[in-house]
Symmetry: C5
Subunit: 86 residues, 5 copies
C-alpha cells in the first residue's frame, strides 16, 4: 500500500456503468522518492480532503467490493490516525 | 487509477485475434511526478482526443469485457467532467 | 520482491472492516535506483523497526491470508538475516 | 499497454520448461517520460526488429496462451501501423 | 519480463512458512532507464551470481510453483545465453 493525502474529488458523469455510485478521490503520494505522484482511488469510507490515507492498488482493490467485476485498481482502505507521525 | 489526457488513436492491423474491434487510444498521464508518461488504453466509451479520462490498469481493466481472456491491461473507465478542476 | 527497511508503525482506526487486526508497517526500499521509496506493508511475522525485510507486492501478498479477499497489496514475507550483506 | 520498439531477440537455453518454444524479444518503451525503459516480451505474432508494437503487461499477458500457467508477464499484442504517427 | 544480473544470495531465516526451501537471489535490472533497480527474485533454475537472467514479475511468478498460494511476486524464468548481446 502507499500513504497518500486526499487532494480533491474527481467527477465523471460519462463512465462505465458498473462505476455508478462509486466515489473517486484524487490522492497524492506522501513521502519517499514517489512523493507527489497522483492517483485516483475509489473511496468507500468517506475520507475527507486533506486526510492522510492508506491506498491499496492492483487486484487487491477489487476485494472490498461485493462483486468482483468492477474495473477499479486503487481504493482507500484506511485513514491514517492524526497522531501517527512519520 | 490515473488521470490522463487522450492524445491520439493507435492503429494496429496485425494484432492478436481477440483484439479485433477494440479501439486503442494513446493517453498521457496528467499532473504529479508521473506527468507525461504515455499509455495505450482500450476505449469502450468513445473518449475524444483532448478529453481528460480516468484510466484503470492491471487485471481491473479486463473486468469491463464480457469475456475475461482479452490481453488488455489498461482501459478508459470514465471521462472527467469539464467542470472538475484539479 | 524488494528489500526494505522497517521505518515505523502505521496506525489506522477508521479502516475497512476486513483489515481489523492486521498490523501495518511503513517500509523504505533499500538499495538500487528505487532506494527511498516508501510502502506500507502488512506484517504477520512481527518485524521490528530497523530490521531489513523482504516485501512481496501485488496479488502475491494476499496468498498468506487464510481468506483471499483482504484488500492488501504488500506484505512482509521474511526478515533478512543480519549476516547477509548486500 | 505501452508503445515500444523491438530492439533485439533474447535467447535463453536454460529456462523454465513451460517456456520452451516461446520467442522473446527485447523492446524499448517509446515516447513519454518512460521512454528508454527496456522490457522482455513474449512474441506470438512475429514482430520484426525495428517495428513499433503494443505490449500488454501483468496478468493480461497470460490471456493469449492456451494454458494459463505460463510465467509470462509481458506480451506483444499488436504491431502499430506504419502510417500511425504519434 | 526484465533482463537482470544476479548480484547476491538473500538469506532469511525468519520467514513465512510457505517459503521454506525457496532460494532467493538479489538481481539488478540491466540496461535502459530502469538500470540499477534492485529486486529479490525466487530462483528455481540455479542461476549463478554474475549471470544475466530473465525475471518475470507479478502473478506470473506464481505460475511456476506447484501450489498457487506462495507469496512470491518475482521469479527467475531463464538464463540469457552468453552469446546473446544486447
Amino acid at each position: 500500500m502507499i500513504a497518500a493525502k486526499v487532494i480533491d474529488s474527481i467527477w465523471s458523469t460519462r463512465k462505465v456503468d458498473r462505476l455508478v455510485g462509486i466515489k473517486f478521490m484524487l490522492v497524492e503520494v506522501l513521502g519517499g522518492t514517489d512523493a507527489g505522484r497522483l492517483l485516483i482511488a475509489a473511496d468507500l469510507i468517506n475520507a475527507g480532503i486533506g486526510e492522510r490515507v492508506i491506498v491499496s492498488q492492483g487486484s487487491a482493490a477489487r476485494q472490498i467490493f461485493d462483486q468482483d467485476n468492477v474495473p477499479i485498481d486503487a481504493v482507500i482502505i484506511g485513514i491514517i490516525d492524526a497522531e501517527c507521525t512519520f
